[in-house]
Amino acid sequence: MAWTKNVLRVNLAAGTCTPEPLNMTWAQEYLGQRGLATKYFVSEVDPKVDPFSPENKLIFVTGPLTGTMAATGGRYSVITKGPLTGAIACSNSGGYFGAELKFAGWDMVIFEGASPKPVYLLVTDGQAELVDASDLWGKTVWETEEHIRKVHQDPQVRVAAIGRAGENRVLYAAIVNDLHRAAGRSGVGAVMGSKNLKAVAVRGTRTDAYRLADPEAFIAATEAGKKALAANGVTGQGLPTYGTQVLMNVINELGALPTRNHRDVQFEGAQAISGEAMHQKRATDGKPNLVTRGACFGCTIACGRISRMDPGHFTIKDKPQYQGASGGVEYEAAWALGAANGVSDLEALTYANYLCNEDGFDPISFGATVGAAMELYDLGILKKEEVGFEIPFGSAEAMVKLAEMTAKGEGFGREIGLGSKRLCAKYGRPELSMTVKGLEFPAYDSRALQGMGLAYATSNRGACHLRGYMVSPEVLGIPQKMEPQATEGKAAMLKAFQDLTAVVDSSGLCLFTTFAWGLPDIQSQIQAACEGDWSPEHLLLVGERIWNMEREFNLAAGLTGKDDKLPPRLMNEPAKTGPQKGAVSKLDVMLPEYYQVRGWTADGVPTADTRRRLGI
């Protein structure tokens, strides 16, 4: 079977690393990765825990298809209670780290307590030890990986680390692996920092780490899967050519691109920061921003962007360390660092994105928080003297300066590091924070895409596009076209997306496969890898169980149905331009229906019947 059946429990306070067998009953009920680790988490952690207290735990977890030839089978997740939201935090990353952990023979690593001094965990197959990281504290993610490889004389070790943002408890600090892949959202890096845990370094060489249930069926199913990805327009052409940045012009033309802290729904500079622009030769040096595309482990899509900046750009003119190639902007990052602030300088966005990778913080929450700060500044509420310089909408200089300050915890960067909700509350304008449950929106406007609005409002980790990507039906027509402004049928479609997404996030696969793969394609791969019943019906039940388990944790943590809401701007201020002009969110119409479809009470609480049906 595709689980290693081994859990590594690391007590950071005591400095111990103890193996234990995986709970296989739970594996059958929650599959792996997001679902299985969340089951461990909710069973062991008090929902009321302060995210930064030692009683909070931090779990690194792979899925049964992580470290297999299944296309995109390299994902891992980090589960904890998030400091930005106070809700369950589950952040998913690609790169090579997850597969390496699997090859070392571990399904998950559970970190408990807090270390009295900085440490990193070194895992070499069955061996695990905590190593002093005093020399690494204050170093970036990039320096940390280089240092660990050098010290252990092993260039093949894979490293997931926090940068200075995680150390400084930027509330949206990320955990970055393989230099530019990130468990990016909801502040998992800040929790890691609070535990004095600098990095997890892994080398996995075991050939007996796990066994597939039916190897021949697995090879056949994964080969069919790869063919389907190659044949699909999105996964076979759009994403390989433009990355997720294929969306920038599409979403802008649809009038769904939140701009300047959601004041507008179209950005006049969208073209300049789009995937197409990344291919174009720059006027300055005659070279394009994009160097090549890069894949995560096992991925036959390869949507990752590798960029090289104009060495003469004002941000890096005297900084040779940023003049080589590195991870370029994805759509959400380009939106947050660009449209959300009105900044249309692609090179500045790329630089800020490098900083996010280098020091480990989420470009979405960072960019959106800068957007909020710029609006406060525009309204005259936030003064130049408090920031130290002028921060008008559209200023690339201001945006990159704030990025530099935020990671290091310098000056006004400290305020930016607390996120949009706390920033706007501090200046007496909480309604200007474009967040749900404290998490900043990504790059789709709730007024333009009604289903996305519902998805944001009900997502278990706050405003996240990756819990139920209603852009698929509302923009791309996958699996069927739904009108952006329609409300009918959106609740049921969203529930199906959320449950399926929970399955994918628990499998080790990347969600992007679902542009091409339906449940049967995913099911055949899971069934061939894992023993037990993994019928489509069972998988959807697992997905629904995971969704409700997360919901119950959030309710026990103190959130209620009243938190399933969108900022007043999206409910009351109509979209100003474009095809969705005049639209506001119709969340009020969709939410009661959603609760009903979910089998929840009118207050958003799973009913006794629902709990019984799901066995939670």
Binding site: T292, G294, G324, A325
Partner: protein
Amino acid sequence: MQKSLHLDPNKCTGCLQCEMACAWENYRSFTTAKSRIKVFTFHHEGRFVPYTCTQCDEAWCMIACPVDAIHLDAATGAKVVREATCVGCKVCTIACPFGTINYVSQTGKVQKCDLCDGAPACAKACPTGAITYVDADWTGFGKMRHWAGRTDTNAATA
């Protein structure tokens, strides 16, 4: 006709499907650490480069082996390690100028690419065509064709 692995770094995305396929072929495991082909990332150049044995005609490893454990597969041209004969002395790993033959502590033998008896698993698994298995005498064909296409034949077609 003899064939040869042809590696085109420009097409490589670093997905490691080739490494998994190689490990699967030889170990029934996807553990890339056991692969005989490796993809190297040159991050700051934005390059991914797959690399493995080129099957030298006068193979240093074969000449250096004191127990004649490495033999020529006449059909494929591959230099193949006979595990039963190999004593794990590692002299071949020193002799090879390219580092493409390596010791495996798990077995106590060395391993190198053997072209999978003429059906290389890495080439089959590569999703981008960065690894192909082509006429050994014409590995330059694709490059030649590329440059041929850029030749100015006459002004009227320009």
